[in-house]
């Protein structure tokens, strides 16, 4: 299990291991779940109040379904930890951050300086997401 290398939250990390979406449905006390690319994030929406950690797996970096999963969860009001795991590369983490990920456990740890530069690369953004950053078109028009 890869270590969490970056975490943008003040609360204590959940100690429970994440379970699969299938077994999550049967374990009413589980507080952590792991989404695979083929899982439907919307299946979790009825249970968001008891979830403290959702891991979203990127088995290969080019499979971008996890980005939609993350936004769907945040748009539904989920405010627990959203952790990107798997093939999480330095050039994807800024996109992930914008989609609502606030923890990163890359399979292969990232160069800390490269990652810091990647998170801070773009001062402004064109699109609104739930990350709270005002898009450029709002800045233009106040």
């Amino acid at each position: 299990m890869a270590e969490v290398q970056f975490r943008f939250r003040g609360d204590e990390p959940v100690a429970d291991p994440a379970v699969t979406v299938d077994s999550f449905g049967e374990q009413s006390n589980a507080s952590a779940v792991r989404l695979e690319p083929g899982d439907d994030a919307r299946d979790l929406l009825p249970h968001l109040d008891r979830l403290q950690l959702i891991e979203v797996n990127f088995p290969v970096f080019g499979d971008g379904r996890g980005y939609s999963a993350a936004r769907i969860l945040r748009e539904a009001g989920y405010d627990g930890e959203l952790r990107a795991v798997g093939e999480v590369l330095v050039d994807q983490i800024a996109f992930m951050r914008r989609c609502g990920f606030d923890a990163f456990a890359p399979e292969v740890p990232l160069d800390p300086a490269d990652a810091e530069a990647a998170f801070a690369r773009y001062d402004h953004v064109y699109q609104p997401t739930t990350d709270g950053r005002a898009p450029i078109w709002n800045l233009r028009h106040g």
Binding site: C99, R121, Y122, T129, N138
Partner: protein
């Protein structure tokens, strides 16, 4: 035309630094070629057969004189003195060194240009009508809507790792000059009966190995919701598009497999949800962009008379120029298809010259067409003869727009690592063979692809040619009856393929047969549609 503000400029400047850093990490061995590949691709850098190719974005095909001049300078400084204009209204350079790429991007950024998302599985450069802002038949200028899409799609955090590439086109007239229905999303800006502006969405078109004509999934999305609607279309695709087979990963396959109605239902459901998320840009942003696409300061009271006493000039006017919405002006197309030339190629010197002519004669504006030509959209008729003389003296005066020599061709096996066959020599041979008859044949759109990915749009050619590999030998299949306009249709294969000389003969047999069969006023396509494939087959193979 659109001008960057400090936000847009900061974005492309940051991108240059990011890519510089990525190239450094690659050259120093910190990332593997596999990890670097999607990064360079998202910056338009492909590894081709002989060198890197850099594809530069030209949003909706619109360029200023200074931008065009820079494209010419880059051709001379970093390439071998050529640039290649593409079917996505972009330009490609075929002989680029990896270590030069960051400097090229910096040069581009200095004239408000970039190579962002010109490849990779993301939303690509949005194309539009090359006569936008000049054509008399448009409801509005489509480019402000395309610019809004450009901004929304740039570094879109959710849609940068889609199942496959994603191409959008925006038009605003019933005559479709951008092959809109052959895009992943085609948008036609329309006006409803109440006079309100909206967007008709056509989703799931495309060429490639499985050509499909996009069905209309919503005939009128209010214009203050069309970005949200686009987001819904993309989200359904990102979540459910196939990722098990790259050849079935385009949105057309999803729309086809789900069926138009089910795909539409899912989009509408996602759209209803996204409307609660307030992601639509404020209308003030659209107004800000629109102001930059206001008409140039046209003179009024000009004459529409032209001195047609020079027959070569008169022919060029008839073939290459389009009526303008403003009296006294005309839209002139510069053909990049000289007889026997490489379709879409121009030298650095020619590119700079076209830039200068745009400044002198066309309110500082040029357009790249998806047929790989250049348009000067706003030329005063009184200046047209002087303009043509300069073009003609510099190899840019070919009078063959939409004639058989105005061939669309992909780079093919001469450059492209995906190709199965060469496209360019076939285009050159056909162009030479039929040059003498081109005027007599009239409108004939001939399109050549060197593999089934169909970058040369062969499915949409009145005559299409597809290069394939047949047991190690280049072989060419002939298609007839494709069309990309409002009456979009897909070409059908005539029968067994041909070798390189054989395909040239077959094309000539098809055009000769057409000439013998045509009725008054019929174009090649009309005759084909009237008499059908069997008669043409007989003429070609009989």
């Amino acid at each position: 035309m659109y001008k960057y503000d400090t936000y847009d400029q900061a974005m492309v400047d940051a991108r240059v630094e990011e890519f510089r850093d990525q190239v450094r990490r690659r050259l120093e061995g910190h990332i593997t070629e596999d990890q670097f590949k999607p990064l360079r691709l998202m910056n338009g850098l492909y590894l081709q057969l002989h060198a890197y190719m850099l594809r530069v974005a030209i949003p909706y095909g619109t360029l200023s004189s200074a931008q065009m001049r820079m494209l010419g300078d880059i051709a001379d400084k970093y390439d071998r003195g050529y640039g290649h204009f593409t079917t996505r209204q972009n330009i490609q350079y075929n002989w680029i060194k990896l270590e030069d790429a960051p400097d090229i991007l910096a040069d581009l950024a200095s004239v408000e240009m970039h190579a962002i998302q010109t490849s990779g599985n993301c939303i690509r450069n949005t194309t539009s009508d090359q006569y936008a802002g000049a054509a008399a038949d448009e409801v509005v200028d489509p480019r402000p809507y395309a610019e809004l899409i450009r901004q929304w799609s740039t570094f879109h955090p959710e849609f940068s790792f889609l199942p496959r590439k994603f191409k959008m086109a925006v038009i605003a007239s019933d005559i479709d000059r951008a092959a809109m229905k052959l895009h992943d999303i085609g948008i036609q800006i329309v006006k409803n009966e109440a006079g309100e502006i909206g967007a008709a969405f056509y989703v799931g078109g495309g060429m490639g190995r499985t050509p499909m004509i996009a069905p209309c999934i919503n005939p009128f999305v209010p214009i203050d919701q069309f970005i949200t609607y686009s987001e819904a279309c993309l989200r359904v695709y990102n979540r459910h598009g196939r990722r098990d087979n790259k050849y079935k990963a385009r949105i057309k396959i999803l729309v086809h497999e789900l069926g138009k109605d089910e795909y539409t239902r899912q989009v509408e459901e996602e759209f209803a949800h996204l409307l609660t998320q307030n992601i639509e840009p404020p209308l003030a942003e659209l107004e800000r962009i629109k102001a930059m696409f206001a008409d140039p300061p046209f003179e009024t009271g000009l004459s529409d008379e032209l001195d047609r006493s020079d027959p070569d000039f008169a022919l060029w006017v008839d073939n290459n120029c389009l009526a303008h919405k403003q009296p006294g002006y005309i839209a002139a197309t510069i053909s990049l298809k000289p007889v026997g030339g490489i379709p879409g190629d121009a030298t650095g010197e020619q590119i700079r010259l076209m830039g200068d002519l745009a400044k002198q004669y066309s309110f500082d504006e040029l357009r790249v067409t998806h047929a790989q030509n250049i348009v000067l959209p706003h030329v005063k008729k009184a200046d047209l003869y002087a303009l043509w003389q300069v073009l003609d003296a510099n190899g840019l005066g070919t009078a063959n727009l939409d004639l058989v020599g105005d061939i669309i061709a992909c780079p093919g096996l001469d450059y492209c690592s995906l190709a199965n066959a060469r496209s360019i020599p076939v285009a050159q041979k056909i162009s030479q063979r039929l040059a003498g008859q081109a005027q007599q044949i009239g409108e004939l759109k001939l399109k050549i692809s060197g593999c089934i990915n169909a970058c040369g749009h062969h499915h949409a050619g009145h005559i299409g040619i597809l290069g394939v590999d047949k047991k190690g030998v280049e072989n060419y299949q002939l298609l007839l009856g494709g069309c990309e306009g409002a009456d979009t249709s897909l070409g059908q294969i005539t029968g067994p393929g041909f070798d390189e000389d054989g395909i040239v003969d077959a094309v000539e047999k098809a055009t000769s047969f057409y000439l013998s069969q045509r009725q008054d006023g019929e174009r090649f396509l009309d005759t084909y549609r009237r008499i059908g494939m069997p008669a043409f087959k007989e003429a070609i193979y009989g």
